[in-house]
Symmetry: C2
């Protein structure tokens, strides 16, 4: 059993990144704990209706970030990963992305209260 992943083909950003993002979110929030087994690339691919290479690309990304350990014949193992010390430039980059997303949401008419609610829901 893994995190239920939802794919939006009209999203604009690639499917493999959507998968990586959502699985990462599940791992960071500890909804899936270290030691657990994720779905195999083919399982998840079949579930999502995409090619297994697409899922494999997402898994490789997470493995490169230190979240997963991939092994042939075994599958994807969730590692215990402590948060790194990000450089200030990296933090600034996230700050920019956050500002832009909030601006886009407000431009779309999403009320500020709704945004706050979602934020508090995460932290």
């Amino acid at each position: 059993m893994t995190a239920t992943v939802r794919i939006d083909l009209d999203s604009g950003d690639p499917v493999w990144r959507q998968i990586a993002d959502q699985v990462r979110a599940a791992l960071v929030s500890r909804r899936v704990k270290p030691g657990a087994q994720l779905a195999t690339v083919r399982e998840l691919a079949l579930d999502l209706g995409v090619n297994h290479n697409t899922v494999a690309e997402a898994y490789r990304q997470l493995a490169a970030e230190g979240f997963l350990q991939l092994e042939r014949g075994v599958g994807a193992l969730v590692l215990d990963r402590e948060a790194p010390r990000p450089p200030a430039a990296e933090q600034e980059r996230f700050a920019r992305r956050l500002k832009l997303l909030l601006a886009e949401a407000r431009a779309a008419g999403v009320p500020v209260a709704a945004l706050r609610k979602t934020i508090e829901e995460v932290l």
Copy 2:
């Protein structure tokens, strides 16, 4: 004079969208007010070191969203645009993106306090 736009070629998402996002942020925050003239597509393109078509694509996007009025021989005029009533599905979509971005930031090691600070800075 327009909003100072910064392009990140390694960002992964297309330049025209980066431009659109940043200009939109400037418009939503009212740092550029309705009635003002934006830089022409060629001016901004020269400034950023990209092709004028790239900027034009970004401007077209904003025009389609109702932010700008484009006219040949004139330029880009900032319109007065009231926030639409977004459907619940749209709000949910933004909520998802927001959660994912925050998860990614936390995964990168950005402290929660820094995130809160940036958020408050916008609202």
